[in-house]
């Protein structure tokens, strides 16, 4: 059963659909502020729930990374039945899922915030990087890793509001590792208009990750925005207004550049 306030959301609007993808151990609620703001610009908005999220953390003991791609694809089809253009917006692991999805789904644009390039960006967990092949058997004995209470929030209120599991289920980490390999494989083949947003102060996923994403990205229509005063969960932090404005400017720009004809 889905936790209260962790439900996926849908806001009808015009023929441009925005598919919002939350991050690891988080919930659709993470993207809700952004979604409701974007809908004020008349876009159709759908915030998906990734499999195993917003229920109980033990559901992630059973996850395979393809399940998350299937969650993305579900959302894509639910939007596609109503929208001619679709822009995907992913945060953190949601950005990784969006990038891989762009390899087989027909997105018109992509926005990724605080998205990692390296497998295990969290310093606390990085030690385990070399142990990834062992994590699958190990996860039968050690189910969860402790998660730092609040990673690096600038805004204490945002930290309080952010709904997440309180642990990292160990079994999900090798899935993430495989998913990153897939993303790094697919990045050079992508050419859709893309905007990457990252905070210099991100301590969960250091800002060097965005430079590496940019370096491996295949297309030429790439924009990068770096903000200075936010933690990892940039979509809830003090600069979220600026992040929102950059997203709207980006979507407007590609819609004009490609002369999208979308019915209201």
């Amino acid at each position: 059963m889905i936790t209260r306030h962790g439900e996926p959301f849908f806001i009808p609007g015009n023929g441009v659909g925005l598919l919002l993808v939350h991050g690891f151990v988080s919930t659709p609620q993470e993207m809700r502020w952004l979604g409701s703001q974007l809908s004020e610009s008349r876009y159709t908005v759908l915030g998906i729930r990734l499999f195993g999220h917003a229920s109980q953390h033990s559901d992630l003991y059973r996850v395979r990374w393809e399940d998350w791609l299937a969650s993305l694809e579900d959302g894509y089809h639910l939007l596609r039945d109503r929208c001619e253009r679709i822009v995907v917006i992913g945060h953190s692991l949601g950005g990784v899922i969006a990038l891989i999805g762009a390899g087989f789904l027909n997105f018109d644009g992509l926005i990724a915030t605080s998205t990692p390039f390296h497998t295990v960006p969290y310093p606390r967990v990085r030690l385990l990087g070399g142990l990834i092949p062992l994590l699958r058997p190990l996860s039968a004995f050690i189910r969860n890793l402790p998660k730092p209470p609040a990673l690096d929030y600038v805004d204490a209120h945002a930290a309080k509001q952010h709904q997440t599991y309180s642990v990292f289920p160990l079994r999900a980490l090798p899935e993430i590792a495989e998913m990153f390999e897939e993303m790094r494989h697919i990045l050079p083949q992508l050419s859709l208009p893309t905007l990457l947003i990252h905070s210099l102060k991100d301590r969960g996923v250091p800002v060097s990750n965005v430079d590496e994403l940019a370096e491996h990205f295949g297309g030429s229509e790439l924009e990068i925005l770096k903000v200075a005063n936010s933690g990892h969960v940039i979509v809830l932090e003090p600069e979220r207004e600026r992040v929102l404005a950059a997203m709207i400017a980006f979507i407007t720009k590609i819609s004009i550049g490609r002369s999208w004809q979308v019915p209201n």
């Binding site: 059963m1 889905i2 439900e7 996926p8 959301f9 849908f10 806001i11 009808p12 759908l46 729930r49 499999f51 229920s55 559901d59 059973r62 395979r64 393809e66 399940d67 791609l69 299937a70 694809e73 579900d74 089809h77 639910l78 939007l79 039945d81 109503r82 390899g103 087989f104 789904l105």
Partner: protein, 254 residues
């Protein structure tokens, strides 16, 4: 790369309230309820057909599914639909019918329709004999071929999107879901329609009567269909099923 099979995609048609939430059956796909979705959408209603977790992807995926995942898939669809429709009607086939009745006992809605819905595990003697050891057994034998089902409309049968074998481990989940449903039936208080085929080869008609008698609603009816096998939304008499649903919706809206 695409994890979802062709024909396995969920669907979402714009329209007015009440929104109709459509739920497919065990090892099947949204495809089996898609025609019903189009029919109801033509009446002007918003439609959302969910894909249940681990369906219409890789067959092995379903071995990891627990019945709570399917309840969550239904909730996902419910929330997406209720964000824009003030009233919801929940409709399901077979396992989807069990999920629909279960959802109708817990979530605000204005009516529920369950088709070809089992009351408990269908009376397969082999299943009941193996049941005590099914969990360990399912680690050794993951899948069993489905037996041939006598559809009236072979063209519809061939167009079907489904796993071609039964996942043994998932039968335990199916049974658990039916237990949950039975417990909740007295709490179903909204207008209810049950539809079943007299010639259903997979789930005999007694199951509908057993569900019917436990449902708490005062406004409940059951309708028999002829000339169809279990998948009554796709087999020969589907138009009769759609029209029955249309009439019921007309009644509840009055």
């Amino acid at each position: 790369m695409s994890p979802i099979r062709k024909g396995g995609e969920p669907f979402h048609y714009p329209g007015k309230s009440p929104g109709m939430l459509l739920i497919h059956g065990f090892t099947a796909a949204p495809q089996e309820i898609q025609q019903l979705g189009s029919y109801l959408n033509a009446r002007g209603n918003a439609i959302l057909g969910v894909r249940l977790f681990a369906h219409a992807s890789e067959r092995e995926d379903i071995l990891r599914a627990r019945f709570q995942d399917w309840i969550a898939s239904v909730e996902d669809g419910y929330h997406l639909l209720s964000d824009r429709c003030s009233s919801i009607i929940i409709i399901g086939l077979s396992l989807g019918g069990a999920l629909a009745l279960h959802a109708a006992s817990r979530l605000p809605c204005s009516a529920v329709i369950a088709m070809s819905t089992p009351h408990r595990m269908p009376p397969n003697p082999i299943y009941f004999r193996l049941r005590p050891i099914l969990r360990p057994l399912s680690a050794l034998i993951q899948f069993r071929p489905k037996k041939f089902t006598p559809w009236r409309d072979m063209q519809a049968r061939n167009a079907r999107v489904q796993y071609d074998q039964y996942p043994l481990r998932s039968l335990i989940e199916l049974e658990a879901m039916l237990n949950e449903m039975r417990n909740q039936l007295p709490r179903v208080q909204v207008p209810t329609l049950l539809i079943h085929s007299r010639t259903d080869d997979a789930v005999p008609g007694e199951h509908m009567q057993a569900n019917f008698s436990l449902i708490g609603s005062k406004h409940k009816q059951l309708v028999w269909i002829e000339e169809s096998d279990h998948i009554i939304t796709a087999d020969h008499a589907r138009q009769e099923v759609f029209d029955t649903i249309g009439q019921f919706l007309q009644q509840v809206s009055e």
